[in-house]
């Protein structure tokens, strides 16, 4: 307990940054993921092609390499400089969005084709059909896998620790510098993550109950 209480500054700073990383990455990943998921079912061949290439390229690249690129490669491109924190959020968002896109696409495929036909038949265009009729039903079907992706994102934020972002995954290294026992520190970090994931699971259950749809 003393390891936690004596170094509360480290723990709060670390978990604060973890939550910031997770929060912004999750929002951007869900937005990008929905757009890319929609592109992959769109009637426009070019949109489908771009979506497919993006998903396959980014999903097949290890997250570490993506973060490497944003931490080390991006600054050399001569573009406006960004902090490591922003770079980590961009990397995590782009990476997680591919998983979200595929989850949403599988959800779209669970919605009976007649729903989209009925929407088109009353004069809704492709975007309206998707956003008003298909996606709301698709999202309900994919709440559990969607939250699995978000929980993975929460834990993936620790990878950013290797790139100078002071988040929860970096707490142990900092504790070691202060001469604290590594194992105890790690246990506290693990406990912190378990609590955060438990919160996400509660949120998942809330959405599952709220959006239960009768067929």
């Amino acid at each position: 307990m003393s390891t936690l209480l004596d170094n509360l500054d480290l723990f709060t700073e670390g978990f604060k940054n973890t939550i910031i990383l997770f929060f912004f990455s999750a929002i951007f990943a869900v937005i990008i993921g929905m757009i890319v998921g929609a592109m992959r079912v769109s009637p426009i061949p070019a949109a489908r092609a771009v979506g497919t290439v993006y998903v396959n390229l980014v999903r097949n690249t290890p997250l570490t390499l993506i973060l490497f690129f944003f931490a080390l490669g991006y600054p050399k491109l001569g573009l406006p400089q960004i902090s490591f924190m922003v770079a980590a959020i961009v990397g995590l968002s782009l990476y997680t969005a591919t998983y979200i896109a595929e989850t949403i696409r599988s959800g779209i495929n669970t919605v009976p084709v007649g729903q989209a036909e009925a929407a088109r038949a009353i004069g809704l265009d492709f975007g309206q059909t998707l956003s008003l009729v298909v996606l709301p039903q698709a999202l309900r079907a994919v709440i559990p896998p969607l939250f699995s992706v978000l929980i993975a994102l929460l834990k993936n934020t620790t990878v950013a620790a290797g790139f100078s972002v002071m988040e929860a995954g970096a707490i142990r290294a900092n504790l070691s510098e202060r001469g604290e026992p590594a194992m105890t520190g790690l246990l506290w970090v693990a406990l912190g993550f378990i609590l955060l994931v438990a919160l996400l699971s509660l949120l998942q259950r809330y959405f599952e109950t709220k959006w239960k749809v009768a067929r």
Binding site: G114, A118, R120, A121, I122, G123, D125, Q128
Partner: protein
């Protein structure tokens, strides 16, 4: 605009051909439907009658030929197509009510999002339509809470809410339990009496006799006969139609 004269052609299909791979599902289809006319399309399953119905609002594309609605040719995908579809009401075999929306929201979605009607006005019109098809009390419920017959009547109200020029019915009673068929047919008969232009794919010969101005008989992707109901049922000309009718009456 003299668009509301009776007797002028509202829906016109000329030289329409469609293939599913090697299956020639629509073969040189020519069909004219006048304003206010009720045309019933019948034929054995696999004859292409549902496909024909679905090409009229381009839920199915065609390979050759032209389809015009009120003088305008069906546009390719895009906003103009969406606009034209709003003029063509469609009722499906499996109802296809939006499963996540209440009955009222099912009916108001099109008027609000496509016709940009205000919410209060759209809801007032929707309630009037739901009352007209006899399901006003169900307005706040979800589709799955209604019987099949009620759902199909809601689907008719949803299509009517767009104030379409023509209504397409793709086997509207085929998925219904027998005791619910009549409640849907009654609504359709009333609609026909009110002067709606209708193209109805159905197996309900009673409806065809009661409400149709013309019966179109299809077999193997072709229109084989096109006659008045009485003429068609009592004196079919083609052997295919005779064969089809005899099978219907043998039980």
């Amino acid at each position: 605009m003299t668009a509301h004269e009776e007797g002028e052609t509202l829906v016109s299909l000329t030289g329409v051909n469609k293939h599913y791979g090697s299956l020639h599902v629509l073969q040189d289809i020519n069909l004219q439907v006048k304003r206010g006319e009720v045309v019933v399309v019948i034929g054995p399953s696999g004859s292409g009658k549902s496909t024909l119905c679905r090409t009229i609002n381009r839920l199915e594309t065609i390979d050759e030929g032209t389809i015009t609605i009120d003088g305008k040719e069906l546009p390719a995908e895009g906003r103009q197509l969406a606009q034209l579809r709003a003029d063509v009401g469609m009722v499906f075999q499996s109802f296809n009510l939006f499963a996540h929306k209440s009955i009222l929201d099912n009916v108001t979605l099109g008027p609000i999002k496509v016709n940009k009607q205000d919410k209060a006005g759209a809801e007032k019109d929707a309630m009037a339509l739901l009352e007209r098809v006899g399901v006003g009390k169900q307005a706040p419920k979800l589709p799955a809470q209604l019987s099949g017959g009620q759902q199909q009547r809601v689907a008719i109200a949803r299509a009517l809410a767009m104030k379409p020029k023509v209504m397409l019915f793709d086997e509207p009673t085929s998925a219904l339990d027998p005791e619910m068929i009549n409640e849907v047919l009654d609504v359709m008969v009333q609609l026909a009496k009110d002067g709606m232009t209708m193209i109805v794919v159905t197996h309900e010969m009673g409806f065809a006799r009661k409400a149709a101005d013309r019966v179109v008989f299809m077999a193997d992707g072709q229109i084989v006969e096109d006659a008045e109901p009485e003429e068609f049922f009592t004196n079919p000309k083609s052997s295919r139609a005779k064969d089809f009718l005899s099978k219907l009456l043998s039980h």
